[in-house]
Amino acid sequence: EPEVTQTPSHQVTQMGQEVILRCVPISNHLYFYWYRQILGQKVEFLVSFYNNEISEKSEIFDDQFSVERPDGSNFTLKIRSTKLEDSAMYFCASSGTTTNEKLFFGSGTQLSVL
């Protein structure tokens, strides 16, 4: 079965540093998403991306965050200047083009900001 791949699985960074989280969505999918899950809390929507632009974003997704699809296969989340509260598991997801479609999630990147 096709799957969403995320790298790295773990990322440790110092506060104030920039990090880039990488994802390879399922090849024929056109919608891409980032979610995060702080330890013990719910999975929270950050942003959705379609046709090379942001379709929706949450209040969490402020100017410190950006997303990019640099080529035909990768989808990245950049945090410009990390804060302690950015420590979380970040999940990439993708879905097809029809409505009601399920999202396929990757295994996540555990980001620890020290």
């Binding site: 999975v43 929507f45 409505t99 009601n100 999630f105 996540g108």
Partner: protein, 112 residues
């Protein structure tokens, strides 16, 4: 604002002891209600999608049902391998994409 509430937060069952998990939702037009399973340190894994009240879906020991206000995930004769966090999520008709809004989940532990 779209909202999903799951109960109980945690549930401990003996192997073979059937039970149900609840998901209550408020949404500005339901496009779909989704159940996912999440194992520790992993991403959510899709189980079911329900679209309209009265609909039911089954997979092995799991059965999901939907009303206009809530969904239930029934677990029949669970096994230890069913231990996981079960997440409920909704898609709103007001959304531009297939974005999901999740509840906090129910942590299920099945003891042998």
């Amino acid at each position: 604002e779209d909202q999903v509430t799951q109960s109980p937060e945690a549930l401990r069952l003996q192997e073979g002891e059937s039970s149900s998990l609840n998901c209550s939702y408020t949404v500005s037009g339901l496009r779909g209600l989704f159940w996912y399973r999440q194992d520790p340190g992993k991403g959510p894994e899709f189980l079911f999608t329900l679209y309209s009240a009265g609909e039911e879906k089954e997979k092995e020991r799991l059965k999901a049902t939907l009303t206009k206000k809530e969904s239930f995930l029934h677990i029949t004769a669970p096994k230890p391998e069913d231990s996981a966090t079960y997440l409920c999520a909704v898609q709103s008709q007001g959304g531009a994409t297939n974005k999901l809004i999740f509840g906090t989940g129910t942590l299920l532990a099945v003891q042998p």
